[in-house]
């Protein structure tokens, strides 16, 4: 075991990709581009060109072209780029298998199973992901131009998928809630830290080669040039059944106020973002907007979930101090969430599905897919036993399939919602490796036989 001291290390912002350490300023627009590598040589040229375009955390405030470009690779992408087998073997099993192979464990079954995923997600065509974000549409077009430069005139690299993402006009998710409020604070990340009562989490939970919450150095892929300052990213396209959600609320509440309360109980926050733990009776928009207060709470005074149900979405995804006295160390099951919306909003009051694809692109960053992303998905969202809730699942993202149950603690006795449908359907997903700038250079320099002419076009 590799134990070092407890001194805080300053992170190397110029080496770490921006998407890991930085929050997007709002408002923003973005697009995800997936690339397939058909010829290794062209893939390697692309790697060299990427070096000029990828935005590090250090460049975040003044990015190239005014937009943020980040890159990730699937396992087979790394294979196709000729990364040595010894290095490939040093990646975690979950990453090597890929998200589609993990479907049964993740609850991506039936309607959400990989055989129904949107092509090419979950297939061997997805090798590289480019995540492009910008404050304006104009800057995003510039970034897309940069993305084209990365693969232009390379017949062996092709775009296989593109999805535009961004904020909804009201700044909320398709279900109508403020999102992205709670993220862990990373020790040593002084560029930007989420405000809240959450203790700082050791950088090794999100970056390879750093001290983690178990007191060891997180072993990343080898050699160190490849692994150090890199992360895993779990990318999921989740279609949201907005009309079904609205209908469920309508059918199970007597009036609008009750509908809003039921939805808030399911989420754990009010539409404004105000947490039930601080505003148990009614929405408090001033609290929802107050970044210094809206995330500053624990469940210490609400053990039974009378304010915020134990089974609510936010309490499952991050139980804070709920699990004290159990064997679970909540700090080793955290994720950095960089999720964003896609698709048109369903106009207010519409109760029938209009056939449009809308939802969110979940992007979760961690250093262990099994201990962080897969654990949260399997044990906390798709299970209930951790909280004494038997097989009850997350009411918002759980695999409920019309048989879901949701318990709302109350006095004298609890309410129990039944026959909850699945509101979130997995349309596809991939595990990506998000390398450091050093690793990108290392990957690009594995093969030196690239001429200067090939690098520009």
């Amino acid at each position: 075991m590799n134990v070092i001291g407890t001194e805080t290390e300053e992170l190397n912002y110029d080496d770490i990709q921006g998407i890991v350490l930085q929050e997007r300023p709002t408002p923003y627009v973005g697009t995800y581009i997936l690339l397939s590598i058909d010829h290794q040589q062209d893939g390697k040229v692309m790697l060299k060109r990427l070096l000029d375009e990828v935005t590090s955390a250090g460049q975040w405030s003044n990015p190239h072209e005014g937009a943020w470009v980040n890159v990730g690779f699937t396992y087979q992408g790394l294979q196709k780029l000729g990364i040595p087998q010894e290095s490939l073997n040093s990646f975690d099993l979950e990453f090597r298998e890929g998200m589609a192979a993990r479907a049964a464990k993740l609850g991506d079954v039936n309607e959400s199973s990989p055989e129904h995923w949107e092509d090419p997600l979950g297939t061997d065509k997805v090798d590289v992901a480019l995540a492009l974000f910008a404050p304006t549409k104009e800057a995003l077009l510039q970034a897309e131009e940069a993305a084209r430069r990365i693969h232009c005139e390379l017949n062996g690299v092709s775009v296989v998928y593109q999805l535009d993402v961004g904020m909804n006009p009201d700044g909320r998710t398709h279900l109508g809630f403020m999102d992205g409020i709670s993220n862990p604070r990373i020790e040593g990340n002084h560029v930007l830290n989420a405000v809240g009562q959450e203790a700082e989490i050791k950088a090794g939970e999100f970056l390879f080669g750093h001290l983690n919450e178990s007191g060891t150095i997180t072993q990343g892929p080898q050699p160190a040039e490849l692994g150090h300052n890199g992360s895993y990213l779990s990318f999921r396209k989740l279609h949201m059944r907005v009309a079904a959600f609205r209908r469920y609320l309508r059918e199970h509440a007597d009036n609008r106020e009750e509908e809003e309360l039921l939805a808030a109980k399911m989420v754990g926050r009010w539409p404004s973002g105000a947490p039930l733990s601080l505003a148990p009776e009614a929405d408090d928009p001033a609290l929802g907007e107050d970044v210094s207060r809206r995330n500053a709470f624990t469940y210490g005074d609400d053990h039974k979930g009378l304010k915020c149900p134990v089974s609510s979405h936010i309490r499952r995804a991050f139980p804070r101090n709920s699990l004290q006295g159990s064997v679970v160390n909540v700090n080793i099951h955290r994720l950095l969430r960089r999720s964003t919306m896609y698709g048109p909003i369903l106009p207010k009051g519409v109760m029938e599905d209009d056939g449009q694809d809308r939802g969110l692109i979940f992007a979760g960053i961690c250093s262990s897919l099994s201990r962080q992303f897969e654990f949260i998905k399997t044990d906390w969202l798709n299970g209930g036993n951790f909280a004494g809730m038997s097989t009850e699942k997350d009411p918002i993202t759980g695999k409920n399939e019309g048989e879901g149950m949701f318990t709302i603690p109350d006095k004298p006795i609890r309410h129990r919602m039944k026959e909850i449908p699945s509101f979130s359907i997995t349309k596809g997903g991939e595990y990506f490796f998000v390398p450091s700038m050093t690793a990108l250079r290392w990957m690009a320099e594995l093969d030196q036989h690239i001429s200067k002419e090939e690098l520009t076009c």
Binding site: M1, S326, V327, N329, S368, S370, N385, G388, S390
Partner: protein, 164 residues
């Protein structure tokens, strides 16, 4: 009747090794003991019995576990039925209750320590999947059973109070 008791669950894999039926999985490990390890392990198990119950209550997913020393004190058979997937929690065991688990398994040859990143592989490599297995209550977790017991007691207390 417990929920789901009338349903039959298919027996599936509990992950890398072992069987799972409903919410419950089985795990059997057979591993060689260190020289003199058998006696030390017997002593440790006796000494830690009270503390062990406390720790297992904290884990709250283990239905039972047995340590069987056999083959002239050279090998250990460890068998347990537990809820969910054990490898989900192996990292928590490593950070939250390392002493107890190490105390129990340090007499096994080459055990790397529960905090080690190799612990998962070590256990999986010594695990043998059962050829046959029966569970009387495949849908009831330890927490479900404890809750059921509390409710039965409360219900009987209520009946007792109302008849007196």
């Amino acid at each position: 009747m417990l929920e789901g008791q009338d349903q039959t669950n298919p027996i599936t894999s509990a992950g890398r090794a072992g069987l799972r039926e409903g919410e419950i999985s089985e795990l059997t490990i057979i591993a060689p003991l260190k020289d003199g390890g058998a006696d030390r392990l017997r002593e440790k198990l006796k000494k830690s019995a009270s503390r062990q119950a406390e720790t297992m209550a904290k884990i709250a997913t283990v239905h039972d576990m047995r340590f069987v020393i056999f083959d002239n004190d050279t090998r250990l058979l460890f068998a347990t039925a537990y809820d969910g997937d054990w490898d989900s929690y192996i990292d928590d065991f490593g950070t939250e209750i390392p002493e107890l688990l190490n105390n129990m398994f340090n007499e096994v040859k080459d055990f790397p320590g529960i905090e080690s990143s190799e612990a998962k592989d070590f256990i999986a490599n010594h695990q043998i999947t059962a050829s046959g297995w029966y569970s009387a209550y495949p849908d009831a977790t330890v927490r479900d059973i404890w809750r059921g017991q509390r409710i039965t007691k409360a219900w009987n207390d209520l009946l007792d109070a109302s008849q007196s």
